[in-house]
């Protein structure tokens, strides 16, 4: 498949001769191309070769230039990697979001983190950096050093020159800080209008409408903010829902509250240290992320993981899927007011977590993976315990399946809700259970078996409902499949060592690995330059794909269905957002308070209530606290 594609490319574009290679099985890599040729190639691949699935867009820092790496694939699942560059002095690159709807978020990331000017990108708020992030600061460029950034004032200080300072240095520092406070972040235009959305923006007409009144008087449209804090959201995000009665007329999605700068952090740490960061990308699918990362490093280092380690990775991965799906089932039950289901499935989830605790020492970040293998072994006693737990869970999950198929209130709330048809799934690049519920057999474990999945084939679960009900069925049936895989893996568990040695310095090269996380395809990109630190790490969590179809799923539904529709993609906000703490978001109130303003606000709040904080002797209080 790969070779056909390569020859087709070279026949169509003779100038690509020598630039196209099959870098790895299932990967066709195209060398850096000038932008005009790159555009011709990608349009041709999209239109003629039907490579319509956009996986990822990665920005890189190439010294004088910015690099843009696009990953697309077609029906035969071969990922084609296309590259183009733009000079940093004029970092313009055309947006491909018209071609690949799923590129919108990735391209916004290019703008925010690399300072690229993506021309033709639908207007929208910034993502993933906070709204009060200073202009002209692009954290993923190599010359940007996190230690020069002051998080309190949100200002970047050029490395201090050892200039001749005559005045008191302490005084100077204070003055500099005051200065910085005074010229507080001017809100960008886009931040002011930031009714954040991921998807295509609302039509201009809708955006130009006066904001709906807070109280339904005169106008029958009301706007309900779901988030940033709302009982149905487990992590911050904003869904601005415009309602006519109970019907959702418009939905605007704001994410990006949890950017923690993990990718930047990875670049200044060694490969082993990065493992701990990657483990913490997500609270639920930590194993999937480390598996992908370890596979990247192992591929570059050219080591082969011992079979026993691969089997243990599979077992832990499937247990992670079990506990993730059980957690989802509980959340889904809670969203539709079925708290009994919530309590029961979370009770069962504890059984999986208990096993993982015994195995890894932690409930969530079990840290089983290490470079070159796994950290802990499964001894026969533990294997027995796992099998017993699997027997218990099998009866429970079969009961949930029966419940989902027969319970009438459950069906009434789930069927026909949040529909994303097969065509729409392909258009918006949906991944994981969302795509599988629409009848697309999109499962990396089958498309591109890795590790022990090569020995134990996966039966992909699909469904044709294409709604929340279908996603529920897919997840429940996948749990049964996971139990089968775990049993099979324990039966076939080969003897042997757990790890092989991985060198500290990883040879130069790049690796693109995808892994099936509980929520869908998890794609990692790693580039090494021969040192002990990676040059670029890009984590593309499955949720990032699923956001694009969200607006489509919400609109036309009911307010009651908003929470379950959001929950049905099993969103993992921190996975998607991955940076620096956020002090304000303007999507609702239109104002961002900085530290000083927040302090003033709190003083005023207390004064209104008759408390004068200025009279409190802070030093005295501090002394007493000691």
């Amino acid at each position: 498949m790969e070779n056909e594609l390569v020859s087709a490319l070279i026949t169509q574009f003779p100038e690509l001769e020598g630039k196209v290679t099959v870098s790895k099985p299932m990967r066709v890599s195209v060398d850096w191309l000038p932008q005009d040729l790159f555009l011709k190639v990608i349009y041709w691949l999209h239109d003629e070769q039907k490579l319509t699935k956009g996986h990822n867009v990665i920005g890189t820092d190439e010294g004088e230039n910015l690099g843009f790496i696009y990953m697309i694939s077609g029906p035969d699942q071969v990922i084609v990697i296309l590259r183009t560059t733009a000079p940093k002095s004029d970092p313009r690159v055309p947006s491909l979001s018209g071609l690949y709807k799923s590129f919108v978020l990735f391209e916004r990331e290019l703008c925010d983190l690399f300072g690229a000017q993506v021309t033709g990108l639908p207007s929208g708020p910034r993502y993933p950096l906070p709204d009060n992030w200073p202009k002209e600061q692009w954290p993923l460029r190599k010359e940007w050093k996190p230690e020069n950034f002051d998080r309190q004032t949100m200002t970047y200080h050029e490395p201090a020159q050892p200039a001749a300072t005559t005045a008191d240095p302490q005084q100077a520092a204070v003055e500099a800080k005051t200065e910085a406070l005074l010229e507080t972040v001017e809100l960008g235009e886009e931040a002011k209008t930031a009714t954040a959305y991921v998807n295509q923006p609302l039509p201009d007409a809708a955006a130009a409408k006066p904001p709906a009144p807070a109280h339904p008087e005169g106008d029958n449209l009301i706007t309900v903010p779901i988030g940033p804090q709302h009982p149905s959201l487990d992590e911050p995000s904003t869904f601005t829902i415009t309602l006519e009665g109970e019907k959702v007329e418009g939905a605007v999605i704001g994410i990006g509250y949890n950017h923690r700068g993990l990718e930047k952090a990875c670049e200044s740490r060694t490969y082993v240290q990065d493992l701990y960061i990657i483990e913490r990308v997500c609270g639920i699918c930590s194993h999937a992320h480390t598996t992908a990362y370890c596979m990247c490093v192992e591929q570059l280092a050219g080591v082969t993981v011992p079979p026993r380690a691969e089997y243990i990775r599979l077992i832990v991965g499937e247990m992670e899927r079990l506990h993730s799906h059980l957690l989802w089932l509980g959340v889904a039950g809670h969203e539709i007011g079925f708290d009994t289901l919530f309590m029961m499935s979370w009770r069962d989830r504890e059984r999986v977590l208990d096993i993982l605790t015994v195995l890894g020492g932690n409930r969530i970040n079990y840290g089983i993976n290490c470079l070159g293998g796994v950290r802990r072994d499964i001894d026969p006693g533990l294997a027995q315990d796992i099998l017993k737990t699997m027997d218990f869970l099998e009866t429970e999950i079969e009961y949930y399946l029966k419940l989902a198929e027969t319970d009438s209130t459950l069906a009434a709330r789930l069927a026909g809700v949040g529909v994303l048809s097969k065509a729409d799934c392909l258009l918006y690049g949906a991944a994981g259970p969302v795509a599988r519920a629409a009848g697309i057999a999109d499962d990396v474990r089958q498309i591109e078996p890795y590790g022990a999945y090569r020995d134990i084939p996966v039966r992909v679960v699909t469904d044709d409902h294409a709604d929340v009900f279908g996603r529920t069925l897919v997840r429940i049936k996948e749990m049964l499949e996971s139990i089968r895989l775990i049993r099979e893996a324990l039966r076939l568990l080969p003897e042997g060592p757990l790890t092989v040695r991985v060198p500290r310095r990883i040879p130069a090269g790049e690796a693109i690995i995808r892994v099936e996380a509980p929520r869908g395809e998890d794609l990692h990109y790693l580039r090494a330059t021969g040192t002990d630190m990676p040059d670029r790490v890009r984590v593309r969590a499955p949720t990032e794909c699923n956001w694009h179809g969200m607006q489509h799923m919400l609109e036309g539904g009911y307010l009651s269905d908003v929470p379950i529709t959001i929950a049905a993609i099993d969103p993992c906000y921190s996975c998607t957002d991955r940076a620096i703490s956020l002090t304000g978001h303007s999507s609702l109130s239109g104002e961002v308070l900085d530290w000083k303003q927040l302090r003033e606000y709190s003083l005023q709040w207390y004064r209104q209530r008759g408390v004068d904080p200025s009279r409190i002797d802070v030093s005295d209080a501090a002394a007493r606290a000691d």
């Binding site: 109280h215 309900v224 109970e246 007011g337 309590m343 029961m344 209130t409 009434a412 009911y558």
Partner: protein, 314 residues
């Protein structure tokens, strides 16, 4: 009856004090049973009292845009309505504390106060979620009022008395006729759940959708009294239900009181089971359900009772 005994009856037993104690006890039993059905431990017996005391001690915050007077008065309205309605329902013995021909209609009207208070509370809070919740409360009220009235009036057509006590006295002499009212019993059981805004009919206060609906801005002692009056509403609805559809009594006051406790607890257990085993319906589904299934059934019951009454001249 002297004024003093009347006051004692209204305020202490079987009046307001008993109502309060029983409301808190029922809240505990409801929560405990619900927890056990979900394989949870559940709260200790004093939890409702502890919650109430704690809420009383909290700071009261009233939104600046809210209508201050209405905001403060609504919990009292709600509680008072429940206390008055309870007076006309038999608890100790066959007869209620007070009764007159037509007191059932009075009870029904007082029972309409909590949802109305809830609606007004949401509306006057001037908060988004509260407004949406208030609209839902009113929508739901329009859905269940008709089947509820029809179903509750059905037994009185046989007994010929529009008084709760009179109804009970009639069925004490004709206990087998209770069986005729079974469809109305089922309708009222479901409608009670709807009226009390419990799952699957808790769309007005759906926590995961509209935070907690009409009462979202309430806190402190106003919230304490609102939730307390909702507990009282549970007692009143259960008492009315047992008086209308399970009117078995012995004529001995003490035994009848115990019987009353057993009957209300049993009905509450059924309602709790319903709450634990269903998902929340959407508001449009609730309206459709009430009008498509409950109202016709109640209407059929009325026709059946009218025919029976004419044919057998009871």
């Amino acid at each position: 009856m002297s004024v003093l005994t009347a006051l004692l009856k209204i305020l202490i037993f079987p009046g307001f004090l008993f109502l309060s104690a029983y409301a808190l006890a029922l809240q505990f039993l409801d929560r405990k049973l619900y927890a056990r059905l979900q394989s949870r431990q559940g709260p200790p017996w004093y939890q409702p009292v502890a919650d109430f005391i704690k809420l009383i001690g909290k700071e009261t915050l009233i939104p600046a845009q809210a209508n201050q007077l209405m905001f403060r008065m609504l919990p009292a309205f709600c509680l008072a309505a429940m206390a008055v309605a309870f007076v006309y329902i038999p608890v100790w013995g066959r007869g209620a504390m007070f009764s007159f021909e037509g007191d059932m209609i009075v009870v029904l009207y007082f029972l309409a106060v909590p949802p109305l208070a809830s609606f007004l509370a949401g509306w006057y809070s001037r908060s988004l979620f509260a407004t949406v919740g208030a609209t839902r409360t009113l929508t739901q009220m329009f859905a269940y009022e008709v089947p509820m009235f029809l179903a509750l009036l059905a037994p009185t057509l046989l007994s010929g008395s529009w008084s709760v006590s009179g109804n009970m006295a009639f069925y004490a002499t004709h206990p087998l006729l209770v069986l005729v009212n079974l469809p109305a019993l089922v309708v009222t059981l479901i409608v009670s759940q709807c009226k009390l805004e419990r799952t699957p009919f808790d769309a007005p206060e759906a926590e995961t959708e509209i935070v907690s609906g009409p009462l979202v801005e309430y806190g402190g002692r106003y919230l304490a009294f609102f939730t307390f009056s909702k507990d009282c509403e549970l007692v009143v609805v259960l008492s009315l239900f047992t008086a209308m559809f399970l009117p078995f009594s012995t004529g001995i006051s003490g035994v009848d009181f115990l019987l009353y406790l057993v009957k209300t607890l049993a009905v509450m257990a059924v309602l709790c089971l319903l709450r634990a085993t269903t998902a929340r319906l959407r508001i449009n589904q609730i309206v459709a359900f009430c009008w498509k299934y409950l109202a016709p059934t109640a209407l059929l019951q009325i026709i059946l009772n009218l025919v029976l009454r004419e044919v057998f001249l009871i």
